[in-house]
């Protein structure tokens, strides 16, 4: 039984005088190896590098820097135009891949709370804090202590980005 099985295998073909080295079995083995490597390499390189965490961190830093100077919040937050003051593209935020939440806390009370961009990401960001997800969305939370209206407040900035790049063809231009 065992001999009958090995009769068809490559190893046996070396021992067996009648056997061929480049047997169908050997070609099959090579094809399987080649297919495995090609699929593995293709999957590895086709996976997109997610820079949303870094990008969200840059966004959070930008907002913190444009809001606070010398430890003070420079603007009257009720009249504050986030897009204009921080030089951020409004249209892009309206398209839905970006989200920013600005919170100002004084004595554990929220005195200012405003969302920009896709507000649905607020909950998603809270979930992402607790569990890891395969989702493309990445969020960064920043806390800064600053002076606002002669009070020491805690400025909290939550920035989230769910951006995916895209391929362009010759016809896109």
């Amino acid at each position: 039984m065992k001999n009958k099985f090995f009769k068809h295998l490559y190893l046996n073909s070396n021992i067996n005088k009648k056997g061929e080295l480049l047997s169908v079995w050997w070609i099959f083995v090579l094809a399987v190896i080649a297919l495995g490597i090609v699929i593995g390499v293709s999957v590895y390189y086709s996976a997109e590098v997610n820079i949303n965490l870094v990008h969200a961190d840059i966004l959070g830093n930008r907002i913190a820097k444009c809001l606070i100077q010398d430890g003070k919040i420079l603007y009257d937050m009720e009249k504050y135009d986030f897009f204009k003051e921080c030089k951020i593209n409004k249209k892009l935020f309206n398209e839905g891949d970006f989200f920013v939440k600005i919170l100002i806390n004084y004595d554990d009370k929220i005195i200012y709370d405003k969302n920009y961009g896709n507000s649905a990401y607020e909950k998603d960001c809270q979930i992402l804090e607790k569990i890891s997800s395969k989702s493309n969305l990445r969020c960064v939370k920043k806390k800064e202590i600053a002076e606002y209206n002669d009070k020491e407040v805690v400025l909290e900035i939550i920035s989230g980005i769910n951006q995916e790049g895209g391929r362009i063809s010759l016809t896109n231009e």
Binding site: N14, I15, K17, L21, L22, L30, I33, A34, I37, V38, V41, S42, Y44, Y45, S46, E48, V49, I51, V54, H55, I58, L59, R62, D81, F83, K84, K87, I88, N89, K90, K91, L92, F93, D97, F98, Q163, G165, G166, R167, I168, S169, L170
Partner: protein
């Protein structure tokens, strides 16, 4: 001498090539022609596979994505008035191999806030969030990213 031959025979008795050895034990007959061709073909096969895996990392689409994301990170991390140089030598070589014109490789769409990198027939684009006036220009193998103030805000 006899002892040595005994050891040699014992070794070859179990080896893969032993069946090809003739009685005289000439070197040319130890490895048969069939086995040599088989071995060479196998080596060629694995060299082709390894070179495929190695070259896959230097394909245009990998460079396109990485340059687009690098440029976007640079733009969003900078301030108006800054000029940044980025080495894009390897990417330009890939683009040249694919017949892409130099002026088509790195582009900015400031209406849509997009960076477009094309090193093959299919390029890659990525959005930057800053409302800056961005200009890209090639200086030999370096890409100059110039950041300027945009005059109109929130008009879009």
């Amino acid at each position: 001498m006899k002892m040595k031959n005994t050891i040699k025979n014992k070794f070859f008795k179990h080896s893969y090539f032993s069946k090809n050895m003739n009685k005289k034990g000439e070197l040319g007959d130890i490895i048969g022609l069939k086995e040599t061709i088989f071995l060479i073909l196998n080596i060629i096969f694995f060299v082709i596979l390894l070179s495929f895996a190695y070259n896959a990392g230097s394909r245009a689409f990998v460079y396109e994505e990485s340059y687009a994301k690098q440029i976007v990170s640079i733009i969003d991390n900078s301030k108006p008035g800054m000029n940044i140089l980025l080495d894009v030598k390897e990417g330009l070589e890939v683009g040249k191999e694919n017949g892409i014109k130099l002026e088509d490789t790195f582009k900015i769409d400031d209406k849509e806030n997009k960076v477009m990198v094309r090193l093959s027939s299919n390029g890659y684009m990525y959005n930057y969030f800053s409302d800056y006036d961005v200009k890209l220009s090639l200086q030999d193998n370096l890409l100059l990213i110039s950041i300027g103030e945009k005059n109109i805000y929130n008009e879009k």
